[in-house]
Symmetry: C6
Subunit: 79 residues, 6 copies
Amino acid sequence: SEEAKVEDYMPSLITKTPLEGRLLAIKMVRKTIGTIQRDPEIKQTVRKEYEDDPQLLMYAAELVAIEFRTIAIANKYWR
Amino acid sequence: SEEAKVEDYMPSLITKTPLEGRLLAIKMVRKTIGTIQRDPEIKQTVRKEYEDDPQLLMYAAELVAIEFRTIAIANKYWR
Amino acid sequence: SEEAKVEDYMPSLITKTPLEGRLLAIKMVRKTIGTIQRDPEIKQTVRKEYEDDPQLLMYAAELVAIEFRTIAIANKYWR
Amino acid sequence: SEEAKVEDYMPSLITKTPLEGRLLAIKMVRKTIGTIQRDPEIKQTVRKEYEDDPQLLMYAAELVAIEFRTIAIANKYWR
Amino acid sequence: SEEAKVEDYMPSLITKTPLEGRLLAIKMVRKTIGTIQRDPEIKQTVRKEYEDDPQLLMYAAELVAIEFRTIAIANKYWR
Amino acid sequence: SEEAKVEDYMPSLITKTPLEGRLLAIKMVRKTIGTIQRDPEIKQTVRKEYEDDPQLLMYAAELVAIEFRTIAIANKYWR
């Protein structure tokens, strides 16, 4: 099934610290874009385009912020 | 009714693992765009346009992130 | 009052299944745009413009995702 | 104070029905833009610009969706 | 510390009424943009640019809507 | 691991006051963009570009608003 081909990059949403949660959020964004666009060359050019574009950099940060909220709630804010 | 024509691509929001939830989110985004635009040719050209456009790729990832939050809450974060 | 002119397209947010909730979300988006812009001709040209524009198609899907979350929570995720 | 000048367009977030909640959301969006830009002439030209622009029409619908969620939660989804 | 330089524009998120919550949301958006860009002249030109631009006016309204949700929840919707 | 290289800029989401939470949100946005784009020169040019661009300034404020909500919930709104 489609699931088999996809590396399980998030066996769980639970992390020990907020920072770990942040890195998981960044990984989820990267892996999702990787699932939508699998061609390594296209990914490379895409990466080059957004690297120095303020709007696209902020967009990447927004995606991280959205995923991070999900993880923060899952971890009860590491209270 | 309109419902009959639409394939039931999400009988439930409950999944066993976060990864399964992620794939359901990706499917929900694809199917919804498919409901809004049913013409296969237009869908094909649209797919080609966003495949190598950083902003549109990130937009697709944002839609997945929004749906994924709904699924994550439904599954109580697979805690 | 303004309310009288507006057809009641959502007497309730409760639906039997996730798919029904999805169709209600799509209807809410369509009716809301219809309330903001009532001129049928303008709506027709607007529809033609976004039909084959990847960013606008994804935007329509984002609006559905935002409304769907509200409906999913209202229905306790059809658990 | 600034508050005095502003008409109280939302004494309460509680409404009897989802439709009433929707109309309150539309009013909140309109009044907020009115608070940010008070000049009637500018508001008129702004209105004309977004009336037949698919992206701006969808943006107006997105603002309604965001406010509607807040109202729906406040009213416990009119369950 | 950085905190000292910043005027405390939100000692609390609690307000008596929804309208007061709305004005606090508008203030939070203004002050945050002010923290990110402190140069009064640049702020003035920025203000002129977005005043009659429908997309930017709506963007300002969206920021208010996002902050307002946080305040509405904090105040239990003034129920 | 990747985590070691990253300075732990958020050991906790808990802050004493809303303002402190606001400054943490601003720091989270800055550090995340810094993680995505580590090259100081590129960061400098990016900063110059968005400093006087209304849309990008508002985008930065939106990212702060999204992170702030997460922190506000984590701190139970400093009630």
